[in-house]
Symmetry: C2
Subunit: 420 residues, 2 copies
């Protein structure tokens, strides 16, 4: 949606993965639009639904039920958030309203509250449209899903693109005038704003399940097992409304992401028809485009690793994506974390120029972390090398060699220049 708002994506209809009639025609699935599920009776296997057009209620029975109610954007309970020009960005209708407001009210100064992936994507969208952009973040760094050193680099990118970063600041209220937003009240004072995007996270939509006595879990999401089964018989849940587990710590977590939702949905469908696959959980992988840079993470950061009982060791590598003789290379920074005792790879974080293809190295690390690979093993993985694609020893392997040396206590000069 940030790309629709900025005009990169021209038509909002392109953002709809599948239209109701496609469900019908391709899969024989009857999609009831403008209907609300009012209540759920897990004993009698029935759902009460209301047709929002006619107001008529009806009861629908089920053999198996899948709850995919999703999540909603969180709006902090402060004064003034109903003012025109204050938005969250969760539903397609949000992006259409924002885009309309941008062309009708022609705001000049944008304030983005929250510096997660959506906040960062919206910085780029607003700057692309020529707005002044200030980003407000409660934490002492931007993008709190990455470590401070990585965040510092992200902040550098944001600032070089003209984004003002206001850290350690809470949104205390919205100032308005005649129903139209005029500013955001922070701890440090009021900053003027013609449009405000609040992107401070989402909450699971689990009240239908909770009201029916279905057990909730982490952060109020619907608790599911590895086959997406809830506590109620024949009731499954998947996607942003459901919990999952962290594959590294085994702990129950709630990490709503589109990619996870797709996988859980597929697995739930299989499980409801007797499939035996299990969802292994997630590992906190995320990536975001920040102007001409890519930022991402997978696995545990140092703090999470310590909390989970590991003894984490981190190494950092700044390297070029290609040998100097081949055009188009970019610089990337890779931080890798391993467990001191076993050498097991626990996580990685990257920041790189877009053309460095840092996301490729992130996915290499994601698979390695998922498989429990050690730094010693990562050094020698047979990755695909040709000059247009990487250096002869690719960045994850360079970092792994450095890690291995550090864990062994041997001296290692990480001379990445010599790798040319």
């Amino acid at each position: 949606m940030p790309y629709y708002i900025s005009g990169v994506t021209a038509d909002h209809n392109d953002l709809v993965a599948r239209q109701p009639k496609e469900f019908k025609e391709q899969n024989g699935i009857d999609v009831k639009r403008r209907h609300r599920a009012l209540s759920l009776d897990t004993a009698d296997h029935e759902v009460v639904i209301a047709d929002l057009e006619s107001g008529r209620e009806s009861v629908v029975g089920y053999s198996k039920l899948l709850l995919t109610t999703g999540a909603s954007a969180f709006m902090p309970p402060v004064e003034g958030t109903e003012a025109e020009g204050v938005y969250t960005l969760r539903r397609l209708s949000d992006s259409i309203r924002i885009k309309r407001f941008l062309s009708s009210a022609t705001p000049r100064r944008a304030v983005i509250v929250g510096s997660g992936p959506i906040g960062i994507e919206m910085c780029e969208s607003f700057r692309r449209l020529g707005l002044e952009v200030s980003m407000v973040e409660l934490a002492g760094q931007v993008l709190p899903i990455v470590d401070e050193d990585v965040a510092g680099r992200v902040q550098g990118v944001l600032e070089s693109e003209g984004v003002k970063c206001l850290l350690g600041q809470q949104m205390l209220g919205i100032r308005e005038d005649g129903g139209l937003v005029r500013g955001v009240e922070l701890d440090s004072g009021v900053i003027p704003a013609d449009i405000v995007l609040v992107a401070v996270g989402v909450r699971p939509l689990s009240s239908l399940a909770a009201d029916a006595g279905v057990e909730l879990g982490e952060r109020g999401a619907i608790k599911v097992d590895s086959q997406m089964r809830t506590s109620a018989p024949d009731v499954y849940a998947a996607g942003d409304c459901a919990t999952t587990s962290d594959i590294l710590t085994g702990e129950q977590v709630w990490m709503p992401l589109g990619s996870t939702a797709r996988k859980q949905g597929r697995l739930a469908a299989e499980a409801m028809f007797g499939g035996e696959s299990t969802f292994p959980g997630v590992q906190g992988t995320a990536v975001v485009k920040c102007f001409d840079h890519t930022v991402g993470r997978t696995g545990l950061d140092e703090a999470q690793a310590k909390k989970a009982g590991f003894d984490p060791v981190a190494v950092q590598v700044e390297a070029e994506s290609l040998h100097s003789y081949y055009p188009g290379r970019g610089t990337m920074y890779l931080k890798m974390t391993s467990d001191r005792e076993t050498g097991r790879l626990l996580g990685a974080q990257v920041v790189g120029e877009l053309r460095s293809m840092a996301e490729k190295r992130l996915d290499i690390m994601a698979v390695a972390v998922s498989c429990g690979m050690s730094a010693d093993e990562m050094q020698y993985v047979d990755l695909a090398y040709a000059p247009p694609y990487s250096t002869a020893v690719d960045v994850p392997a360079i970092a792994a060699s450095l890690m291995h040396s550090r864990l062994q206590g041997t001296v290692c000069r990480c001379d990445t220049s010599g790798l040319d």
Copy 2:
């Protein structure tokens, strides 16, 4: 070097990873240029070397010896290969000679013998320079390191770029006139040529070792164990002159590649100083840029898998790299092979438009194959998703789902369009 020949890389000095004086200054290593090792006495731990300038011979003792003699281009023993305009491409001097010939003799018609990665890279270089290009291949398909279906797509790319592919044809001789190449004699007749590049593979330079009684292995390369030790005490070998093992089959193989050489060199250095890491072997990963496409492979193809005792099952997916609403996507074709019994991923092959970043999916598969991941597990790996980088479920996971369904015997429509 193909990129230097085409002008993508301007200066051949940029192709030299490290100059002799850098070895001296940075590492205290004395590089003796224009010296030849004449013989090796593994009992007395001595090497006889000759200074090629003065002709003087001397004896150098060693505590540990590392043989990194590399490989040389193979020239088939047919008539006429000494003609001017006939080249192999292995050493930097080869590329300098080819480039000089291109500008002095201004050849119009190029014939490339062999359709491996170097042959394909040189097709692009010669076309870029405006030459007519014919490629001769003994096998019935181009790029014999990939399966026939993948090769068919590669051939389509080559032909659309104006390369004439002559398959099932052997070079029987070179026709010359006054010492200058005029044509290549094939089974089907003579094709005219103003320049001929012979790229039919390399052979290990192992005679120094062999003459000293050091055991040779596969394809006449120096046999080494997982710590790069040869059969002779204190003698190690690494890189293109040495064997390695296939991590999937455990068999000794010879697969000379720059990336493998770098890793073996590093490991040998560690091992010579008491390090305990072992080289796990290779899995036949390779990638090559073919004009505006990327082609690659990792692991076992179907034939190799059968030979190794697996019961391979293959699935093919043709998919877009990004959702349709985000600009810059490309199409890629991914073929994935698993073992029927265990679901273990055995290998993958890709062909994709350059902008599809097929090499990323290849490296994801390389790590997964290396770790012994199953198709069922691959479906659910937590890869990095954001619209500028991939679809919500990335191509390897789509292929893995299809594979999983096939192995389970369940019906699966691989509706990749619905993944938008």
